[in-house]
């Protein structure tokens, strides 16, 4: 049976673990602690948990100031409210000032399926990766969330980490070697490279299995760090398979596919297909159905890859 785990709960437990390891870790909440899995941190380290209410612009600047005194602030809330809303503060106070702050956007993508586009974030990767010096991480399984939380704590510099909301299947063993900036080849293949990230890595993973059954040799790559991108791995995959399909719960503009295309265009351009939401505010409704509306279910991904290769 598939091992499904709640990404917020998983992150919250990991935050306590990094808090135990490093007493400079502090948690900043915009009335978002219980919703973001930070309640255990609050209970374990009440003196290192700060509540500010709903003021994301203010908290972003506050996190910069705390980092300037040596703290390692984690600012966690619903993804659009820590990215697009306080963007200028993120750009200037964290990016330009190079502050060691970890911005975590939870319930990203279309998690808030029924609440509609105000609460969805399909542009966060795009805007956050424009900021010089920012690391952008999009873990694709609960094990990866834990490993990424430790890795971004150890990394000195501003980070954006995107988390989904619905339970995610475990795709990696506990001893899996996670390194920021290093993509992971989950399965080798020669006909096409299928690249997944974040919440829909599992869909790409399932699509690869469907395609294998149909006799298509798929190289499956997990890009958990969109910035800095593992260019070497992607150039190698482009050279060896000649075709790339990307899968992400994000807009086509500026996301994983975009980042890979930028990396390949000058060095090794190959045909690409980007499976993502194209230039529209997403609709509303049940989450899995919404993914289906934009071709992000495994069967649909497999069909798109087949058609792309035909």
């Amino acid at each position: 049976m598939t091992d499904l785990r709640d990404p917020r709960k998983t992150f919250g437990e990991a935050l306590v673990a990094v808090g135990e390891k490093n007493d400079r870790v502090v948690a900043l909440s915009a009335d978002s602690s219980s919703g973001s899995g930070m309640k255990p941190f609050h209970e374990r380290f009440p003196e290192r948990h700060f509540e500010f209410g709903i003021m994301e612009q203010g908290i972003t600047g506050i996190s910069a100031g705390m980092a300037a005194t040596g703290k390692i602030p984690f600012f966690v809330a619903i993804a659009p409210f820590v990215t697009s809303r306080p963007f200028e503060m993120v750009r200037n106070d964290l990016g330009y000032m190079r502050q060691n702050v970890k911005v975590v956007g939870r319930c990203g993508g279309m998690t808030y399926a029924d609440l509609g586009p105000t609460h969805q974030s399909l542009e966060d990767i795009a805007i956050m990766r424009t900021i010089p010096g920012f690391t952008v991480v999009n873990p694709g399984c609960p094990v990866e969330i834990v490993k990424a939380t430790h890795a971004i704590t150890d990394h000195v510099g501003p980070v954006y980490m995107k988390l989904g909301g619905p339970k995610m299947p475990v795709l990696f063993d506990a001893d899996y070697d996670f390194q920021l900036g290093k993509g992971v080849t989950m399965q080798d293949g020669k006909d096409v490279t299928l690249v997944g990230t974040g919440t829909v890595l599992s869909k790409a993973h399932a699509a690869a299995a469907i395609l294998e059954q149909k006799g298509i040799s798929v190289r499956l790559i997990n890009i958990h760090t969109i910035k800095p991108l593992d260019r070497e791995l992607m150039i190698k995959a482009a050279r060896e398979t000649g075709a790339i399909v990307t899968v992400e719960e994000h807009y086509i503009a500026g996301g994983l596919g975009s980042a890979i295309a930028e990396a390949l265009a000058e060095v090794c351009p190959v045909r690409m297909k980007m499976i993502a939401v194209d230039d529209q505010f997403a609709s509303n409704g049940p989450y899995e159905e919404l993914l289906g509306l934009y071709g992000l279910q495994a069967e649909q991904i497999a069909q798109t890859v087949e058609a792309f290769l035909a």
């Binding site: 700060f50 203010g58 506050i62 300037a68 040596g70 503060m89 000032m97």
Partner: protein, 284 residues
């Protein structure tokens, strides 16, 4: 509260004059600059760096130092002028203002110049950063912990983000934090009260939970006595409303919105130097 002797007062006035001369030196190099606001806040910054704050130009990253954030970053001529006067960097750097890749951009960059605590320029950022610093420093729970000072423009107060930070400072009882609202009553388009009034400033800051005092912003003794009275009330952040004159010290430019940003003609520069020479004679 600390008061100062007549000699100390005169010393600070001379330092403020030297800093105003540094401002002119930069304008001469770069031809233009945000002179109006720089000269309304420069006396406060002088008092901070030469009498109030624990800072060491030889060790600008000392973790125990007091912090100053110029939220209204366009007034950076004043900050650069005082930092140079205090010895944070060589005065020759002042002559690079306006030059390619100068360490003195039109808004301050902490990674380019020692002594700059924060990158500011976009308005409505500095107070949040100051709240974070005050909170981070308060976590150390030292009896004589460092203080954090944030200077804001009165036009800047229209940015809503300031009021998020103001509420957070009071909620978290940051009595190691002081804000200066530089009320020169002018912004680029005209009178602040006509553009977007946040008056009465005293009532607004008090309503947000701050302990507020209003003083004249060009008198050194009042400045030192007021700043060293932080916290005005235990458990509350302190707000100083500074009644100031835009472009203070340049007779032809004082209290005129048109000198928010100054494109200095040679004739004006001559007048400016004459004005400062007259101040120097008075202080002799």
């Amino acid at each position: 509260m600390n008061t100062i002797s007549d000699d100390d007062k005169r010393f600070l006035e001379r330092k403020a004059l030297a800093s105003r001369k540094n401002v002119l030196r930069m304008i001469k190099a770069g031809k233009t600059g945000h002179v109006g606001g720089a000269l309304s806040i420069i006396d406060t910054i002088t008092a901070l760096y030469f009498k109030v704050m624990k800072v060491d130009p030889q060790n600008p990253k000392d973790p125990d130092r007091d912090r100053f954030i110029l939220s209204a970053g366009h007034k950076c001529l004043a900050l650069y002028a005082v930092l140079a006067e205090a010895g944070f960097f060589e005065k020759e750097i002042l002559d690079t203002y306006g030059k390619i890749s100068s360490k003195l951009p039109g808004h301050p960059d902490m990674h380019k110049l020692p002594g700059v605590e924060s990158n500011t320029g976009a308005l409505g950022h500095g107070l949040s950063i100051g709240v974070g610093m005050a909170l981070g420093l308060a976590m150390e729970k030292r009896a004589e912990g460092p203080g954090v000072y944030v200077a804001m423009g009165d036009g800047e107060l229209a940015e809503g983000s300031n009021w998020e930070a103001a509420a957070a400072a009071a909620h978290h009882k940051l009595d190691n934090l002081m804000v200066f609202a530089d009320r020169n009553r002018l912004q680029i388009s005209g009178n602040t009260v006509d553009v977007m009034s946040y008056e009465p400033l005293e009532d607004r800051w008090a309503a947000f939970g701050w302990s507020v005092r209003t003083i004249g912003g060009h008198d050194m003794r009042t400045l030192v006595e007021t700043i060293t009275s932080m916290p005005f009330e235990k458990g509350k952040p302190s707000c100083v409303i500074l009644d100031t004159i835009k472009a203070k010290g340049l007779s032809f430019a004082e209290d005129k919105a048109s000198y928010h940003y100054w494109k200095a003609t040679p004739e004006e520069m001559e007048m400016a130097e004459k004005d400062l020479a007259e101040i120097e004679e008075r202080l002799a």
